[in-house]
């Protein structure tokens, strides 16, 4: 497959038991693009993200990442792909509580077997970059929601992933904090040239994206680009 897209899903179906979460969703994400995936609760947008990121295997349909078919890869290969090429920021529950902020940021590098010193050297600048200079030695229980989310962002970007998946990254934050996190996210993604898939139901968050698609009843709708009257 040699389309210009970095990530593409075609006619993806996924059911949980008798609940059909996705029924033929198709998405294409261009390189360097920030794509918002919108839709009401239960529409299947998170499931779509999990399928795109190789966490779930779709029941039917194909997922391609940069010329590789993701959905047929083995669990180990998909884990490697997630580790090396993807980053994740979720609403919460993603930091390892026993580790400090800096440990958490360095974690993906350590998991990828980067030497310890190098991993920490690579992780440390992110503290400053995200305004966390004071909090490197704090455990996640000692961080505020916004700080924890910034640590999660740093951790998602520290290994220079090609694709960043975020699911309601500001869902648990107040307006201003959410804005700060989104600003940092977009700025960092632009600087690093990272492609972003941003799942949100919040229009003001979606407005940070270049483009949006709407998931409704398990189908992804690319909105018509009709002329403005």
């Amino acid at each position: 497959m040699s389309t210009g897209f970095l990530l593409e899903a075609r006619d993806v179906h996924r059911a949980f038991g008798t609940t059909q979460a996705l029924r033929g969703a198709s998405v294409a994400v261009a390189r360097g693009e920030i794509l918002a995936v919108m839709g009401p609760s239960g529409s299947g947008k998170s499931t779509l993200l999990h399928c795109l990121a190789g966490i779930y295997r779709p029941d039917q349909g194909e997922v391609w990442f940069d010329g590789t078919r993701v959905d047929t890869l083995s669990e180990t290969k998909r884990t490697e792909l997630r580790r090396d090429a993807f980053g994740f920021v979720f609403q919460f529950g993603q930091l390892v509580p026993e580790l400090t902020a800096l440990d958490n940021i360095a974690l993906p590098l350590l998991l990828a077997k980067v030497p310890r010193k190098q991993a920490y050297a690579q992780a440390a600048p992110w503290l400053e970059r995200l305004g966390l200079d004071q909090h490197g030695t704090h455990r996640s229980g000692e961080l505020s929601g916004g700080q924890a989310q910034r640590v999660a962002l740093a951790r998602a970007l520290v290994h220079k992933p090609r694709l960043l998946f975020t699911d309601e990254p500001t869902g648990a934050l107040d307006t201003l904090t959410g804005e700060t996190v989104m600003n940092l996210l977009v700025t960092a993604a632009r600087e690093e040239g990272t492609t972003v898939v941003l799942v949100t139901h919040d229009a003001r968050v979606a407005a940070y994206a270049d483009r949006e698609i709407v998931v409704r009843d398990g189908r992804a709708l690319t909105t018509p680009s009709s002329a403005v009257a």
Binding site: I55, E75, R83, G87, G93, E98, L111
Partner: protein, 789 residues
């Protein structure tokens, strides 16, 4: 990855430290107990490899020369008390050998009389050489006795002087009584049942109890390991939900399942390794105490009581490895789903079907005890026991659930409701933590109900007066006491203080049949009649009574030498024979015109209320009217009841097995209870750590610590007591059925006091353990600790 796991374990904050401490504690206790059991098992094993020097030796074969007595080569010689010294020397015999069994105050005494024929005569292990004439070697315990007990009671039995001690190679424990007495060859040939041998037996000891011990040890070890494994498993699974969350987060950022496994196992491994090292150190501190533990009823040599190198190595390597494996297994759910922030599913409630194994077991058991005479009963008894034990464990969750429902219905209040809900939600997990106690209670109650009752039945009721009666039988290849000799023997015995003697005289056999011919007795053959003087028999009314004016009575004396006192039928006077199967006696006519003073004495019964006098009589008889067995070595005895034993000793030989089993079972039950208690502590503390957040929230919303404490207490105590009560009742019922079937009129000799004390101690201990682990509760749930990360 290893360092990451290590830093998660050691720097992971208070919660991680608590978890680490709990794991370490659980493993420490488990390892200490395991090492103790292992070393006792080793000590026991080393007794079973003891060379059985009293077993049948290699005798010289005289058959070719025909120089020995008639018939079979040496056996005949023994029976005839005639070994042709010259012939056996020529056939290459190296030693004359004569083994006999004696008793002192209820303890078996093994006696070997030897005479060296050549310079290389085989000596028993533990002695450098064969004792010369007039010398003997005694075991250390016997040497102590010889030094402290008057010679008339013990020392006079052995001619000569002590030349040394028997080394431990010949003994299975430090308390064993054994002696090797040296003789001149021409003196020893005169002793009946002497054999000429070329080599000692090199076989292993074949005690009737060996297999039972081995089985009991294996079973006990397994049944002890199980609670240990459960406890260690509980400790490693602590806060599983929280850890699953963490591992899911790691999976999300790209940790492979293998990396997660490494981190998880490092965490468990560190705790288990610390525990294993600590447990080993604790064992080393306690090891001198372990050597004193009396498991089989006889002590072990202290330096045999050691786990050995492979034991230490096994514990130090296997336990941490096993903990790591358990940790990895408990993570199976997370392995494949990076999003699995544990979806909690309520397991299906246990159904009434869980009671089937228990009912099946009890039914089988009733069937088994009712077919007790059949050979097949073993095939039913063991499945019955297994089913019942399994049934108790299987029924546990159901009982837990039912009791929690009762609690919910009848005990209003927040604490009861919360506790009942949690119990009903997962009765299996709750029961698992108390299952060790349940099993221990079951086994303990069954043993306490059955064994003492069975033991008491053997020496109670009509048999009680016989307990301290020494009985000797002279027709088993020994020489009957001739009328010429009997007068002085009887007079000497009767001269001892408080001693009365009841001789049984052997009537003349009117038939021409000779048992040594090997052929069957002719039709209508009757054994020669045995007589007892009515005047003598008055000393022991249990034997029966004479009619007024009667002088001599027939007596079925064979009956007195049965090896199971439970089957002994009394009275025996007035009968010529007693049917073993039905217990019905064949009434004998009152003998007339019999002058017993002209007859040989075939059986002697000596009674005395004073045990010292009894030993004195035994010593006297050993010298002047010895009972000599027709068959030389213990591996050939068909019964253990032919030596110069009291009826009480016969029973106690028999009971030795039961007592040892009881001892072992109680040791096992005690240890299981201890482990189970620790397991409960670990589980309770673990459940608190796990539920820190909901508890803190409950406190924030105004729930008092007292309510929480009551709730946690109910959660552990309710299943503990209901299920234990069920196990205890089931076990008592089984014991009752068994006792009533084996001895229909026996009373239950349930050790009420000891049992109550033990139960009370267990209850208090369990409550203390539960309450102790709740010390965490109020500190843990202080509202300033609320954090939502």
């Amino acid at each position: 990855m290893f360092r990451l796991g290590l830093s998660l374990t050691l720097r992971g904050g208070r919660e991680a430290v608590t978890r680490l401490l709990l794991t370490t504690f659980a493993v420490l206790v488990g390892v200490t107990v395991m090492l103790g059991v292992l070393s006792l098992f080793n000590a026991y094993q080393s007794t079973t490899v003891r060379q059985c020097w009293e077993c049948s030796p290699t005798t010289v074969d005289l058959g070719a020369q025909g120089g020995g007595g008639p018939g079979s080569p040496t056996k005949a010689g023994a029976a005839d008390a005639g070994v042709d010294l010259a012939a056996v020397r020529q056939a290459g015999a190296k030693e004359l050998w004569n083994f006999s069994q004696d008793f002192y105050q209820g303890t078996e005494l093994r006696r070997l009389d030897v005479a060296a024929l050549t310079a290389d005569a085989p000596a028993i292990p533990g002695t450098a050489r064969v004792p010369g004439p007039g010398e003997f070697y005694a075991s250390p315990a016997l040497a102590d006795l010889l030094a402290s007990v008057p010679h008339s009671q013990l020392g006079d039995r052995f001619p000569g002087h002590q030349a040394g001690l028997i080394g431990r190679a010949a003994l299975s424990g430090p308390d064993e009584l054994a002696i090797v007495v040296g003789h001149a060859p021409d003196e020893l040939v005169k002793r009946p049942a002497t054999q000429a041998i070329t080599a000692l037996s090199t076989g292993k000891e074949v005690k009737g109890t060996t297999n039972i011990y081995r089985f009991a040890f294996a079973f006990g070890t397994v049944s002890l390991l199980l609670p240990i494994v459960i406890m260690v498993g509980t400790a490693t699974r602590l806060s599983a939900a929280r850890r699953e969350e963490r591992y899911a987060a790691m999976r999300l950022v790209g940790a492979t399942p293998r990396q997660v496994s490494v981190v998880a196992s490092v965490e468990s491994f560190v705790g288990a390794a610390l525990g294993a090292v600590g447990g080993t150190l604790l064992y080393l501190v306690l090891s001198s105490q372990v050597a004193r533990v009396n498991v089989t009823g006889t002590r072990f040599f202290p330096d045999d009581v050691t786990p050995r190198v492979w034991g230490y190595l096994g514990v130090l390597v296997l336990v941490p490895a096993a903990a790591a494996v358990v940790a990895v297994r408990s993570l199976r759910g997370v392995q494949y789903d990076p999003l699995a922030v544990s979806r909690k599913a309520t397991p299906k409630p246990p159904t009434l079907w869980r009671l089937t194994p228990l009912l099946l077991g009890i039914v089988l058991f009733v069937v088994a005890v009712n077919m007790s005479t059949s050979d097949y009963s073993d095939l039913v008894v063991y499945p019955a026991l297994v089913f019942t034990l399994w049934g108790v464990v299987s029924a546990g969750p159901w009982v837990t659930m039912q009791s929690s429902r009762l609690l919910a219905r009848h005990a209003p209040g927040a604490a009861a409701t919360l506790a009942a809900r949690r119990l009903a939600d997962n009765p299996r997990a709750t029961f698992r933590t108390v299952s060790g106690v349940t099993v221990a209670v079951f086994i303990g109650t069954a043993v306490a109900g059955f064994l003492p009752s069975a033991v008491r039945a053997e020496s109670s009721g009509e048999r009680a007066p016989l307990t301290n009666v020494l009985r000797l039988r002279y027709d088993m290849g020994g020489t009957q006491i001739s009328p010429a000799k009997s007068a002085s023997v009887l007079a000497d015995l009767r001269a001892m203080p408080g001693v009365s003697v009841i001789p049984v005289y052997l009537g003349t056999d009117t038939s021409a049949w000779n048992p040594d011919s090997g052929g069957p007795p002719p039709e209508g053959w009757q054994p020669p009649p045995q007589y007892v003087r009515c005047a003598d028999a008055k000393a022991l009314p249990a034997l029966g009574t004479c009619a007024p004016g009667q002088d001599v009575a027939m007596i079925a004396a064979d009956e007195l030498f049965i090896d199971n006192p439970l089957l002994l039928r009394l009275p025996v006077m007035g009968y010529s024979d007693i049917d073993r199967r039905t217990g019905a006696g064949r009434a004998a006519p009152v003998p007339t015109g019999v002058d017993v003073s002209q007859l040989d004495i075939t059986v002697l019964m000596v009674t005395s209320s004073d045990r010292a006098a009894l030993e004195q009589a035994r010593t006297y008889l050993d010298l002047h009217a010895p009972v000599l067995l027709g068959v030389g070595s213990p591996d050939q005895w068909s019964t253990n009841a032919i030596g110069p034993m009291t009826f009480g000793e016969v029973a106690s030989v028999r009971q030795e097995m039961l007592r040892a089993a009881q001892q072992m079972i109680f040791s096992g039950v005690g240890l299981t209870l201890f482990i189970a208690g620790c397991s409960i502590a670990v589980a309770t503390a673990g459940s608190l750590v796990e539920r820190k957040r909901p508890f803190t929230l409950l406190r924030l919303t105004g729930t008092s610590v007292a309510v929480l404490r009551r709730m946690v207490f109910l959660e552990s105590a309710l299943p503990l007591f209901t299920v234990s009560a069920m196990a205890g009742l089931a076990a008592y019922a089984m014991a009752y059925i068994a006792v009533r079937t084996i001895a229909p009129h026996a009373q239950m000799a349930f050790p009420v006091e000891a049992y109550t004390l033990t139960v009370a101690a267990v209850v208090v201990g369990a409550l203390a353990v539960i309450l102790g682990s709740m010390a965490l509760l109020s500190r843990m749930t202080r509202s300033e600790n609320v954090r939502f990360e």
